[in-house]
């Protein structure tokens, strides 16, 4: 193990470094605030010859994903990044890439989708992709962005997974916040991440193959007749990824000394907790501070950080749910008119439903369309969950925290 370099990097530059370390071969990318530094830094690496890749300055996000798809099928490791309006615009190819089982990695620098227009973050752009078959990781800080992108290639390219991966980090809060980032040695990364070769799909004439073993030809051949089986196999790949991610987390940890919980999620001060908060992305950092304060005060509260949303860590959530009295999910994404709360809440409560005795469950909308999340906001939420755990009942299922003016 060589000594790593440390650099002061924000989330976007850390992502570009990860792409360079992962030796992506084709990078079609279209700039959008607040993702632009990913594009400019990658362009810079390519121009200077530090990254030997084909950088394709495409005319739209729709094309970015389209180019990534065909380049990946031709045998190159690919990367792209976007957010918000861009993600919605590329929705069509997003489904094709996962359907084709191509391990493209995409960075989503979370930004709220208009209208109301905002440049700041919420999780709706990436969570909107929850049904597409892509794996999804959420990052708390720049270091995690770098580490997760490298891991994402390894996981997505595994022959039992073969699925594209979204690595999400919030705009500005993570994308523009600099921290000392430890950059792993290129040799170590090369060992961890072998040369990309898709076991079933290759368009190059003398290596031509366009098949996934169990089913048959992709593209023209695979039509609606085998569509159900196709989806079922993608589901099995997700199940496999659920077992693989913790292993990769440990393996990567051995190289770099950095572990992200157990891979799928991280428990923070959950020992003996009666109440837990579940968070995703940058809110986790803010919540850690609040949990520390409350623990000082002797309050039995812990934190669970969801690192992957797809595959959803159902079993791990259930295990936690069986031990605690109340759970509060902080949703930084809206699901308008839902059964209760945002996508995260809906998934979590489904996971908990199978428990014989489930904990009390509450949803908290917080930080929607770029509203800043402070420790005070989180403290209010934490105290509500603690109170429910103490009283043994909840007052409300869904809380709109940070709401200005009177609640109607």
């Amino acid at each position: 193990m060589n000594l790593p370099i440390r650099k002061l990097l924000d989330g976007n530059h850390a992502a570009a470094w990860a792409v360079k370390l992962s030796r992506a071969g084709v990078i079609p990318i279209f700039p959008i605030t607040p993702q632009t530094e990913v594009v400019s830094q990658i362009a810079d690496f390519v121009e200077k010859g530090e990254l030997k890749a084909e950088y394709v300055p495409v005319e739209s996000e729709h094309s970015a994903m389209g180019v990534a798809a065909s380049a990946s099928a031709t045998g190159c490791r690919t990367f792209t990044a976007s957010n918000s309006q861009g993600i919605v615009y590329m929705e069509e190819p997003i489904w094709w890439v996962s359907g084709w089982r191509l391990p493209v990695v995409m960075g989503i620098v979370n930004r709220a989708i208009g209208f109301p227009t905002s440049l700041g973050p919420d999780h709706n752009d990436s969570l909107l992709q929850r049904d597409t078959g892509w794996l999804q990781f959420y990052c708390e800080n720049a270091q995690e962005v770098l580490d997760t992108i490298i891991q994402a290639y390894r996981i997505g390219e595994d022959k039992n997974v073969l699925l594209p991966v979204i690595v999400a980090w919030e705009g500005f809060v993570v994308s523009h916040a600099a921290m000392p980032v430890s950059i792993p040695d290129q040799e170590d990364v090369d060992k961890f991440l072998p040369f990309y070769e898709h076991p079933y799909i290759n368009l190059v004439p003398d290596k031509y193959s366009f098949k996934i073993k169990q089913i048959g030809a992709v593209g023209e051949g695979t039509r609606f007749e085998s569509g159900t089986e196709w989806r079922y196999q993608m589901e099995l790949a997700h199940e496999y990824a659920k077992k693989l991610i913790p292993k990769i987390n440990t393996e990567y940890g051995k190289i770099t000394g950095r572990l992200y919980g157990k891979g799928l999620l991280e428990q923070y001060r959950c020992n003996g907790a009666e109440a837990v908060l579940i968070t995703m992305g940058s809110i986790t950092g803010t919540t850690r501070v609040v949990i520390d304060q409350l623990r000082e005060e002797g309050k039995p509260i812990g934190l669970v950080k969801l690192r992957t949303f797809r595959p959803f860590p159902t079993e791990a959530i259930r295990e936690i749910g069986a031990k605690v009295k109340a759970i509060g999910f902080i949703d930084r994404a809206i699901s308008q008119g839902s059964a209760g709360g945002g996508p995260g809440s809906i998934e979590t409560s489904r996971a908990l439903y199978s428990l014989e005795k489930h904990p009390l469950f509450m949803s908290f909308y917080c930080g929607l369309t770029s509203r800043e999340v402070t420790t005070d906001d989180i403290r209010d939420i934490a105290e509500t969950v603690l109170k429910a755990a103490e009283m043994g009942k909840i007052e409300k299922e869904v809380y709109w925290t940070q709401l200005r003016g009177e609640e109607l």
Partner: protein, 295 residues
């Protein structure tokens, strides 16, 4: 000029494709594809549109093929060609087949973007002047006054855009128009284009018996009438040098081309005059450009 028999022998020494296709009887697109892929002997990857008309006939071709969604023309081949470059495989050519709908209507932005980036591949557009695969719906290339299922009283949009010239003014290495009625001209252009680097574009007029409403045996005849009437002039632009590759001695009236097709039944006198004027103007304009550098 070679005789038909000699030509026949030369081209069909070895067929690139297995017999049969899933296209309509009398489809000139099948003939065009056959000409194209019997000419391109190089190792290649084919990117084609999702519809049967634009490249569906290539399904019996022994070459790697890939298709994305309708607007995929332009971006799909970009990915393939960039990946080949990254892998150092300069021996493999990338050939894209698009339709007028996929390439020039919904995917026109992507085609334009690929042209301006000068992506290294050869793009064919099989122009049958409507969305034919899905049952004759109007596209941006449908001429004035034409009946389609979505323009039951005739297409009201006045003009179609001049796609080959628009692509040419992306300053690309090669642009040409071709049609199945002029086989040798077609083959020459394919041969020339496949050996170049950069973005190459060949616009192929594909008379469609199903959508244009003519007898299945008349496809070749119609493609010739289109050229002879000045509706579809044959030319090439090689690195900016403009050349008319076939000059009819005298233009026949557009009416003769129109009369052969049931789809023009909704065409009124005024619209016919418009078509005639456009054809006349276009021919004069192109003859002026002949032999000159236009960029």
């Amino acid at each position: 000029m070679m005789s038909w028999n000699e030509l026949d022998k030369k081209i069909f020494e070895r067929e690139a494709r297995l017999p049969g296709h899933s296209l309509c009887p009398g489809c000139t697109g099948a003939i065009a594809e056959r000409l194209i892929f019997n000419t391109i002997k190089d190792k290649k990857i084919i990117f084609h549109g999702p519809g049967v008309c634009a490249g569906g006939g290539t399904s019996l071709l022994k070459a790697p093929k890939i298709t994305e969604y309708l607007s995929g023309t332009g971006m799909g081949p970009t990915g393939v060609s960039r990946a080949l470059k990254q892998l150092g495989r300069n021996d493999v050519k990338v050939v894209a087949m698009g339709g007028d709908g996929g390439a020039l209507d919904i995917g026109f932005g992507k085609l334009s973007a690929a042209a301006i980036r000068n992506e290294n591949y050869l793009q064919f557009v099989m122009d049958n002047e409507a969305y034919m695969n899905t049952g004759i719906q109007r596209s941006g290339q449908t001429p004035e006054g034409v009946w389609t299922t979505t323009t039951p009283a005739g297409n009201k949009t006045s003009k179609t855009k001049n796609a080959p010239m628009i692509i040419a003014y992306h300053y690309v290495p090669y642009v040409a128009t071709a049609t199945v009625g002029y086989t040798q001209d077609f083959i020459n252009k394919v041969k020339k284009a496949i050996d170049m680097d950069g973005f190459r574009y060949i616009h192929v007029l594909v008379p469609c018996p199903t959508g244009w409403r003519f007898q299945t045996k008349k496809g070749i005849e119609l493609s010739r009438l289109a050229v002879k009437s000045g509706i579809f002039p044959l030319y090439e632009i090689d690195h900016g040098k403009f050349k008319v590759t076939y000059k009819p001695k005298e233009l026949i009236p557009v009416k003769e081309y129109v009369e052969e097709q049931g789809r023009f039944r909704t065409l009124n006198e005024e619209q016919l005059m418009d078509l005639q004027r456009a054809a006349d103007f276009y021919s004069i304009h192109l003859n002026e450009l002949d032999g000159k550098n236009i960029y």
